[in-house]
């Protein structure tokens, strides 16, 4: 049974008839104009235009001419700050930001306070997720306290509803522990998500290591801090025969290591974040702490390598690493400021930029933002087949907007994309037949 991702108990919306949209559903090989009928939270019919579906009484009809109808977007890497740092983001506010960005589901990383290393915290997160605007899939810790010393109670967290394990933000330095985590998670069918970072090479670093780190006088994080660790994780996954998912790939070297592992038949998947294929280290500019994250923004060559990895399928997923921080953590000296940026409301338009550039097909984008994260996490979604849960996103591919600070739904505003002109927006987000976001 796939996890429910929280029980959405809002009263179910009446039937919805989505007319004239371009349905892009790669799992079922569909990319054509079609009408979609949603009844009781499920997709009940998909019909060619003018095929004359019988529209139930009381059904709301929405004309989607010029719009794309895609499986609900899934962000498999977000940080909602509940429990512990609710002033940055709650599960409720994060879920609203997700819906506004077109997401119907997210997987939330365990580095809350306390960390999610037990069934109690997992259950708390799921309880807080009841009735919010997207499905929330908890990710549990690999190690107790995320301290990297001993395994957390992984089976119990799975039973409570965790969909994966990761010590995101606190890389597992001990190779033996990471190997044991891969082995032990097999019993429970839980994916291990690796924040691959060799801390002895990155310690104290706050920006990519290179000309810019020297000019700004900031301690650098070299590419090899990522690739050395990615190699270890791929080697251990291969050795144990277990799958591993590499989080937030930022370097060309890591892309190439993953490409080779896949060519050998390794059970590896990988994600990158929109900022790694959109920005470079130069965007740190005059010590802009909204361009500070871990891993750091890299060079133009790395950015191009990440794009190539997305284009050829080496990288399976676009995930945001949505990391809300308030001014308290960001309006500081650069080396004192917290890592991370919010991303839920900019991920879709930034990924659509790659479609406009011809790097991705629309169907390819849907795979990165919906199909693949569902498959990798083993959750329902990414599929508009008849009878499926009606999680879907309507995208206006032409809609331009300025990402203005006052329009941000997330409780935190730490984004380097503020005031940027973006194109492509989720105008209707539907989760289980319920409209969670609407601007048409």
């Amino acid at each position: 049974m796939s996890p429910a991702g929280g029980n959405y108990t809002k009263s179910s919306h009446g039937p919805l008839f989505l007319q004239n949209g371009r349905v892009i559903d790669p799992v079922n090989g569909i990319d054509r104009q079609a009408d979609v009928l949603i009844v009781a939270g499920r997709i009940v019919a998909l019909a060619e235009l003018g095929q004359g579906l019988e529209i139930p009484a009381g059904c709301e009809c929405i004309d989607l001419k010029g719009m794309w109808v895609v499986p609900g977007l899934i962000d498999m890497h977000v940080h909602f700050r509940e429990p512990g740092e609710e002033y940055k983001e709650t599960i409720e506010s994060g879920a609203r930001a997700a819906a506004a960005g077109g997401f119907t589901a997210v997987a939330c990383m365990p580095n809350t306070a306390p960390v999610n290393d037990s069934q109690g915290v997992t259950a708390l997160i799921l309880a807080k997720a009841v009735g919010v605007s997207c499905r929330v899939y908890p990710v549990g810790c690999i190690s107790r306290g995320a301290r990297g010393e001993e395994l957390a109670d992984i089976g119990e967290m799975k039973r409570a509803g965790a969909v994966a394990i990761s010590d995101d933000g606190m890389p597992v330095s001990d190779g033996q522990l990471f190997k044991r985590a891969l082995e032990y998670s097999a019993n429970h069918g839980l994916l291990v998500i690796s924040h691959s970072e060799e801390v002895s090479l990155s310690r104290g670093g706050v920006i990519n290591e290179g000309e810019i780190s020297i000019r700004l006088g900031l301690r650098g994080i070299p590419n090899v801090a990522e690739s050395v660790s990615v190699y270890r994780d791929l080697a251990l996954a291969e050795y144990t025969g277990q799958p591993v998912h590499i989080a937030h790939v930022s370097t060309g070297e890591a892309v190439e290591l993953i490409r080779r592992a896949k060519a050998r038949g390794g059970r590896v998947s990988a994600e990158t974040a929109p900022h790694y294929f959109t920005l470079t280290e130069g965007d740190v500019g005059d010590y802009d702490t909204n361009a500070k994250m871990n891993p750091p923004l890299r060079t133009e060559a790395d950015r191009q390598a990440v794009i190539a990895g997305l284009a050829d399928g080496t990288i399976d997923v676009v995930a945001t690493d949505h990391a809300p921080h308030s001014r308290l953590e960001k309006d500081l000296e650069f080396d004192q400021a917290a890592n991370g940026i919010i991303g839920l409301e900019t991920s879709l338009p930034l990924t659509m930029e790659l479609v406009r550039q011809g790097v991705l097909s629309p169907a390819g984008m849907v795979e990165l933002l919906s199909v693949n994260p569902a498959r990798i996490l083993g959750v329902e979604g990414g599929d508009l087949g008849i009878g499926r849960r009606a999680d879907l996103t309507v995208v206006d591919p032409q809609k331009g907007f300025i990402y203005a600070e006052e329009t941000i739904v997330s409780r935190s505003k730490n984004s380097p994309f503020i005031d940027r002109e973006l194109t492509g927006k989720a105008v209707l987000t539907i989760m289980g037949g319920v409209i969670t976001h609407r601007e048409l």
């Binding site: 810019i212 700004l216 006088g217 010590y287 500081l332 000296e333 080396d335």
Partner: protein, 310 residues
């Protein structure tokens, strides 16, 4: 420099922000102010009624005193805040500290801080003028200017000179400002030191990286040593001070490769016997104390120009 060039800056955080004409104006202004320090009554009324705050989050004797003397010789009122007496220990953020100072209406805040970009952060939040008096491993622009002034005094001009800087280039705010300044003014800068301290990416600043210090020093008009900081031993960037001295210290043998009239410089404070042989530091080619004297003149010029003096 065009006569009447206007200095359109309110802050100075990096020498990269100054044009060639700006640098020439600062240096010519400093030259005209220098004689004030040699009068019996070392004070002019130019900045009377102006308030200058020295906000120092790192220990500093020379730079803080140099700014303070500069301000006082211009008749500005100066106040010193050091990290131990500041609110930093009470958990106040840098921005809050600065906003509180601004509320008392100073005309200038001079900041030294261990975090690179601290002055840039203040500049974004304050209406008051800000001078970076050294931020982390980023820049120390007034030191770069006083170094340029010192070289010009002895060599006439900077264009065409070869400047050699030996030491921890990557982590030296002095080296960064010097490389940016000297190359802007047409000099060539060669740098050398342990590769852990002089990665090839330093060339992005405009300097030529030499693995062998002898290549950097060969035919140089200026040879500058940088202070080796003790904490770099822990990184670890070098094995030991004596190994550094043996391979990268400025000594007579190395200096012999430079031009016979080469100047020897050091931003201080000196670790005698580590980055420079004491005999060289005290020798006839050393202009280390001239640097200190010129520091006051350069800072007088900066206060005057940044506060919009006529």
């Amino acid at each position: 420099m065009e006569p009447g060039h206007l200095f359109n800056h309110k802050h100075l955080t990096s020498l990269a922000d100054l044009s060639v004409e700006d640098v020439e104006l600062v240096l010519s202004t400093a030259r005209s102010f220098k004689e004030i320090s040699f009068r019996s009554i070392k004070k002019v009324p130019t900045l009377r009624g102006r308030t200058v705050i020295n906000l120092f989050f790192e220990p500093s004797t020379r730079t803080r005193l140099s700014f303070e003397i500069a301000a006082k010789r211009m008749s500005a009122d100066t106040f010193n805040i050091s990290a131990v007496s500041s609110s930093a220990v009470k958990g106040e953020t840098l921005v809050d500290t600065a906003l509180n100072l601004q509320a008392m209406n100073p005309d200038m805040v001079i900041i030294r801080h261990s975090s690179s970009g601290a002055a840039n952060l203040l500049k974004r939040h304050l209406k008051t003028s800000v001078i970076n008096a050294g931020d982390g491993t980023h820049e120390h622009p007034s030191q770069g200017l006083l170094d340029m002034m010192t070289v010009i005094e002895h060599k006439g001009e900077l264009a065409g000179l070869k400047i050699a800087i030996i030491g921890d280039i990557a982590h030296s705010r002095v080296a960064h400002s010097d490389i940016i300044g000297f190359t802007k003014m047409g000099a060539a800068v060669s740098v050398s030191g342990p590769a852990t301290m002089v990665p090839v990416e330093v060339e992005g600043l405009g300097a030529k990286v030499c693995l062998d210090p002898r290549d950097a020093v060969a035919d140089a008009d200026v040879v500058m040593a940088l202070r080796i900081q003790r904490e770099r031993l822990l990184d670890p960037l070098i094995p030991s001070p004596h190994e550094y001295a043996a391979f990268f210290g400025i000594n007579e043998a190395l200096l012999r490769l430079a031009r016979p009239d080469a100047l020897v410089m050091h931003p201080g404070p000196i670790n005698r016997g580590v980055e420079i042989d004491p005999a060289i530091a005290d020798g006839p080619r050393s202009v280390i104390l001239d640097q200190v004297t010129n520091g006051v003149a350069v800072r007088m010029a900066l206060l005057y120009l940044l506060m919009g003096g006529e």
